[in-house]
């Protein structure tokens, strides 16, 4: 199912990206790490954005890639963050969260298609897959959340300093609740959720390892063919 749905998700992601470029260009500029407006902007695979120097260090990219992806034209001009005089989001968190999201998505595509290919070679018997592959697939169980949370950071941090794009700034609508109260509740939620995450992973592991009791009245599952041969 993942093998079919993930390419669809990537297509939806492309459409979403084009929509964001139209309505929140500063967010896209931060996602791509583009400081100065330029034609044929490169698709950066790696870089360390530097907010004070307003440039990227150790940049490694595919020439004209960003222009190609965003405007489907390798020579197209991409607006840089320096152009947004009313304020723009911090570049590094948006840039990195976006790479984590896309990277996880690519990993999902590789895992689902690769898994399908390996499974076919093993005669559709999951138990026959090599252990490292199974362990890797088990780890991929968390990929959906990782990608979703990273995407959420892109969209929320990328919106800054606006809460409603172009209309309302976050500092204009913040409540009068004292900062100390916010810090206290944030710490409280982080603690509770860290504990719950730990409990959750442990319970999921426990449930995954627990044999499924067969409902009464159903015949016991047929023994695997290889077992009969041995």
């Amino acid at each position: 199912m993942g093998a079919v749905l993930i390419p669809l998700q990537i297509l939806a992601g492309d459409m979403h990206g084009l929509n964001t470029l139209e309505h929140q260009p500063a967010k896209v500029a931060a996602m791509e790490g583009v400081w100065e407006t330029q034609a044929g902007a490169p698709l950066l695979l790696f870089a360390v954005p530097d907010q004070t120097a307003r440039t990227n260090h150790f940049a490694l990219g595919i020439p004209q890639g960003a222009s190609l992806i965003l405007k489907h034209d390798p020579q197209a001009e991409i607006q840089g963050v320096n152009d947004f005089k009313d304020g723009h989001p911090p570049v590094a968190p948006v840039f990195w969260a976006f790479r984590i999201m896309v990277g996880t998505g690519v990993l999902m595509l590789v895992a689902s298609w690769g898994g399908l290919w390996l499974l076919r070679r093993q005669g559709w018997s999951a138990a026959q897959l090599p252990r490292p592959v199974l362990a890797g697939l088990a780890l991929m169980a968390f990929s959906g959340w990782t990608a979703t949370v990273a995407g959420w950071y892109v969209t929320e941090v990328g919106r800054q300093p606006w809460i409603v794009q172009g209309l309302l700034r976050v500092d204009e609508v913040a409540s009068a609740v004292p900062g100390a109260h916010i810090a206290l509740t944030l710490a409280l939620y982080l603690t509770v959720y860290a504990a719950l995450l730990l409990a959750y992973v442990s319970v999921v592991k426990h449930m995954a390892e627990k044999p499924v009791p067969m409902p009464e009245g159903l015949p016991p599952r047929a023994a695997p063919a290889t077992g009969a041969a041995a």
Binding site: H181, L184, V203
Partner: protein, 336 residues
């Protein structure tokens, strides 16, 4: 056309106020009994705990949708009141949510996690219920005085923070009297008797303090023709309280009349809410903000009304449906 006495700008905010009030009351009564059951959990044997949880299992999360509806209406229909109330109650709301999170997770995990962790999840369920109930009590106490400053007002909120959980325990115990049999039912009768005096104390305290704090409330209740006309409210409350107590003392509560104490206590909550609504109206926040000052634009309210016309009947419908399906005595806890 002649000038109509009726206009939407006046009527719609009142409609939403009534809807919000009903949603909040439904939340307090419905989640009140399941919070109460949670608060009683540590007093029962492990087997009884499973029965207690099973008795609220089909209902508890649907019960919480009423809170979402109530606060949702507060946000979209009365944004100014939402800002004022939730800023004033920031910490207790945050704490309540932690309590509800713990409870919600513990509900599932106590049967799904490894056996050795079950006592810990039971503890989390109990503690979550307690945190949520105490926070709600504090909020009610602060709200009733219109967020008055000073140590007396905070002391009052502190006392309500302890009495509301006791009221929830009474609701929860009466729920168990209705839904269970045998040893657990007898135990529930005992719990209900303990929790009865704090509820009486709480009702009395609120009825005394509100007229003292607010001249608005005093004038409303204690001027002459009104006083007589309003007398049925406190009298009916008193009658319901006495009825519940008398039944709990007799064998009848164990048999066919096992549902009467629960219904009597629920009606105490309903009368209390009617009294409070009469004290407050037209204020959304006592003596500070009226329903019309707090309301959204009439055209916004009209849009929201369309949404509510769909969602509210749906919520009411599935609530009635689930209570019909799961009526009668509770059976084994059968999901794991």
């Amino acid at each position: 056309m002649s000038a109509a006495a009726f206009d939407w700008a006046t009527a719609l905010p009142v409609v939403f106020l009534v809807l919000m009030g009903v949603a909040m009351l439904a939340y307090v009564v419905l989640d009140g009994y399941d919070l109460g059951v949670g608060l009683l959990l540590h007093r029962a044997t492990p087997d009884q705990r499973d029965t207690m949880i099973a008795s609220i299992g089909p209902f508890w999360d649907a019960n919480e949708t009423w809170l979402v509806l109530g606060v949702g209406i507060l946000l979209i229909a009365f944004p100014k009141a939402h800002g004022l109330v939730l800023t004033a109650l920031y910490l207790p709301v945050a704490l309540m949510l932690v309590g509800l999170v713990l409870r919600g997770v513990a509900f599932d995990f106590r049967v799904k996690a490894q056996d050795q962790w079950k006592p810990l999840w039971n503890l989390a369920f109990w503690a979550g219920s307690g945190i949520a109930a105490v926070s709600q009590g504090w909020m009610l106490g602060r709200y009733i005085t219109g967020f008055a400053e000073g140590s007396a007002a905070h002391l009052f909120a502190g006392v309500i923070a302890l009495l509301l959980p006791a009221a929830y325990v009474l609701l929860g115990a009466c729920w168990l009297v209705m839904k269970t049999e045998g040893a657990l039912q007898l135990l529930a009768v005992r719990w209900a008797k303990w929790a009865w005096p704090p509820l009486v104390l709480g009702m009395g305290l609120v009825s005394l303090v509100t007229p003292v704090v607010s001249t608005t409330v005093r004038d409303r209740w204690f001027s002459m023709p009104e006083f007589i006309a309003l007398l049925p409210i406190p009298l009916a409350t008193l009658a319901a309280l006495v009825l519940a107590r008398v039944l709990l003392n007799s064998k009848m509560a164990l048999g066919r009349l096992c549902w009467v104490p629960f219904v009597a206590v629920v009606s105490v909550f309903v009368f209390g809410a009617i009294g409070l609504a009469y004290s407050l109206f037209p204020y959304v926040v006592m003596d500070q903000l009226t329903v019309w000052q707090a309301a959204s634009a009439t055209s916004s309210l009209a849009v929201i009304a369309v949404g509510c016309a769909v969602t509210v009947p749906a919520i009411v419908g599935y609530t009635i449906f689930s209570y019909r399906v799961f009526s009668g005595k509770v059976r084994e806890l059968s999901y794991a």
